[in-house]
């Protein structure tokens, strides 16, 4: 672009800013509605994106196959003997029993997960009387590394532990309500006999063999249920999609408001505005000059509102923990202590949002002008 063309656009921008100043309140309102819309949409999008990412992260560490025992249709403890049976199936690389369970903490009125770290979790090895806390619990209980933590078991017996560490997990959703303890402490806390586990975990050498292994294992263990990683993934997807759908339905209302706004702009060209366009043409503006001037009006408003809305949404979701959306989107959030999502941005989502707001708005600004601008300017002589 040469400098004359550039100066032409600068001049037209200058003019459009002066012209917008005249209907300051209307333009400010418009800007505000637009900004709120982008803010809400971007908040939902980046929040659900971050939560999905969390879920994916969590699942990437999940075992290929989890074995549960069902008694009367309910999840029950798995005896150690099961481990020997499935552990020898061809293709199973490793099999071990897991110990985990929930308990409700009266003091903080929250559910915690008590868990024994698996044999692979080298970073989390403990000796009797030690515990590692998720950062959510540490925050709620005001606990720090090296201090003592006491929790009361469902049987009323207290368990006293020294805090070895507080974990800052990659995934806030899974890690923050977690207390890691030794097997001995776990069994004592829940009053479990030896040789039983919450469930079993099978690590598989080749993920394509998962269904074959599940087939053989269910023959050997008729009362067991096998949950594969794909099953979990599907369940999560279903829950997230459903909640997202709900929220998007609510957002539809906001979008309708935006549409009305855009439509009002698209149809509302007063006699005064038409006359002005005629005057500009009569004094030497081309149709393209008028369109360029109006384009800048639409583009400036929508670009600024878009950027403002996106920045506000980013701050909302990642700095202020999505306070407005949490109760809706993260359905089981009440079960968990507070957590914060690590920031992540989906470029494609942002681009989509940009296209679906900036383009219609700018279009709605220009189209009626186009209709008025192609008419003969002679009318202003009358």
């Amino acid at each position: 672009m040469n400098s004359t063309a550039l100066r032409r656009h600068l001049n037209l921008i200058d003019f459009t800013l002066s012209a917008m100043r005249r209907r300051l309140w209307r333009n400010v309102m418009l800007f505000a509605v637009y900004l709120v819309l982008v803010f809400l949409l971007a908040s939902v999008m980046s929040f659900s994106h971050a939560i999905r990412r969390e879920a994916a992260l969590m699942l990437s560490g999940a075992p290929e196959i989890t074995v549960q025992r069902l008694v009367m249709g309910r999840h029950d403890l798995v005896p150690l003997s099961y481990l020997d049976k499935v552990g020898n199936i061809r293709g199973v690389q490793k099999a071990y029993g897991r110990l985990w369970g929930y308990f409700y903490d009266q003091g903080t009125r929250a559910n915690y997960t008590l868990m024994v770290p698996g044999p692979d979790a080298k970073d989390y090895q403990l000796t009797k009387g030690q515990a590692i806390l998720g950062e959510g619990i540490a925050r709620v209980r005001g606990a720090k590394k090296g201090r003592i933590l006491t929790i009361t078991s469902p049987t009323g017996k207290p368990l006293v532990m020294r805090i070895k560490d507080v974990m800052m997990p990659d995934s806030a959703l899974v890690g923050s309500d977690l207390i890691l303890v030794t097997e001995e402490d776990f069994r004592r806390f829940f009053n479990l006999p030896p040789n039983v586990y919450t469930d079993l975990v099978l690590k598989v050498r080749n993920t394509r063999e998962v269904s074959t292994i599940v087939g053989k294992a269910s023959y050997l263990l008729p009362d067991a249920r096998f949950v594969t990683r794909d099953d979990i993934l599907r369940t999560y997807e279903a829950i997230f999609s459903w909640r997202e759908g709900l929220l998007l339905a609510l957002l539809a209302a906001v979008i309708v408001a935006f549409a009305i706004l855009v439509f009002d702009k698209a149809s509302g060209l007063s006699g005064e505005e038409k006359r002005e366009i005629g005057v500009l043409k009569a004094v030497g503006w081309d149709t393209s000059d008028i369109l360029a001037m109006k384009f800048w009006e639409g583009a400036l408003v929508s670009l600024l509102a878009f950027l403002g809305g996106v920045l506000a949404a980013y701050a909302h979701v990642f700095l202020f923990d999505a306070g407005l959306l949490k109760p809706v989107l993260q359905g089981w959030g009440v079960l968990y202590p507070d957590f914060s999502l690590p920031p992540s941005i989906d470029g494609l989502q942002l681009a989509t949002l940009a296209i679906f707001t900036i383009v219609p708005f700018t279009g709605a600004t220009i189209v009626p002008i186009w209709r008025a601008a192609i008419t003969d300017p002679e009318q202003v002589m009358r």
């Binding site: 001049n11 005064e272 005057v279 503006w285 081309d286 393209s288 000059d289 202003v380 002589m381």
Partner: protein, 235 residues
């Protein structure tokens, strides 16, 4: 020289409300003279002036400016000729409400891509010549009638056009302001501008700066009076 060749303007051509505003006008307008079109309301003066100024196209016929046909062109070229050649002073001034005097005066020059600061400077100079510099930042709707017209004149001059077109310029002015307007026009004539006006105001016809009077009736030209003949008319 502007040359009109069998120019017709028909509004709503072929419809029941058809109006033949200008009928078969052929006329030569010299650029070194000030010409006034006079005639009763509805005689087609404004329509003719619009066509000359490239604001509208003749229904038939041609208009030449210095030998170049300017009547049958696509919009882009028409606009280009309009903004480089003509400055308009409208009967109703047509200032943009809510914008300042300065912004109004600068408006016609903005799409030409000149430097904004230069443009302001030029606008200020013109406003100064018209004794309006103290009003530069005033909103245009707060001006008196005479001031509004001087702003309209300033706006017409910003692109330094060779030809000034004024449609009924004194229709809304009292005698003193009319004198003032004629003074400004005389200055512009002095600077070599061509001035074309329409008017049914005798104060304009009798003005010293007017060289030719073209009388119109029902869309056609009745007669053309040269300055010499006007001397006789006065007696």
């Amino acid at each position: 020289m502007i040359e009109l060749e069998s120019v017709c303007k028909i509004y709503n051509d072929g419809q029941p409300n058809e109006v033949r505003a200008v009928r078969d006008v052929s006329l030569k307008i010299p650029l070194d003279a000030t010409t006034v079109f006079r005639g009763p309301s509805g005689s087609g003066k404004t329509s003719l002036l619009s066509m000359i100024g490239c604001l509208s196209r003749p229904t038939s016929g041609r208009i030449h400016l210095e030998g170049e046909c300017i009547s049958g062109l696509p919009e882009k070229f028409m606009t280009d000729i309009r903004r480089r050649t003509f400055g308009f002073i409208f009967q109703r001034f047509n200032l943009l409400r809510g914008l300042t005097v300065m912004e109004n005066v600068m408006a016609p020059a903005l799409p030409l891509g000149g430097d904004h600061a230069d443009l302001r400077h030029r606008a200020m100079e013109i406003l100064h010549r018209l004794q309006l510099d103290h009003k530069a930042t005033v909103a245009s709707e707060l001006l008196s009638g005479g001031e509004a017209q001087r702003v309209a004149i300033a706006r017409a001059l910003i692109n330094d056009p060779a030809i000034i077109l004024a449609d009924e310029p004194t229709a809304n002015l009292d005698t003193a302001l009319t004198e003032e307007f004629l003074g400004v026009m005389a200055d512009l004539k002095q600077q070599g501008k061509t001035i074309l006006m329409t008017s049914h105001d005798p104060r304009i016809w009798q003005a010293k700066l007017v060289d030719r009077i073209v009388s119109m009736k029902d869309g056609a030209i009745e007669d053309v009076l040269e300055q010499s003949e006007r001397e006789n008319e006065k007696e």
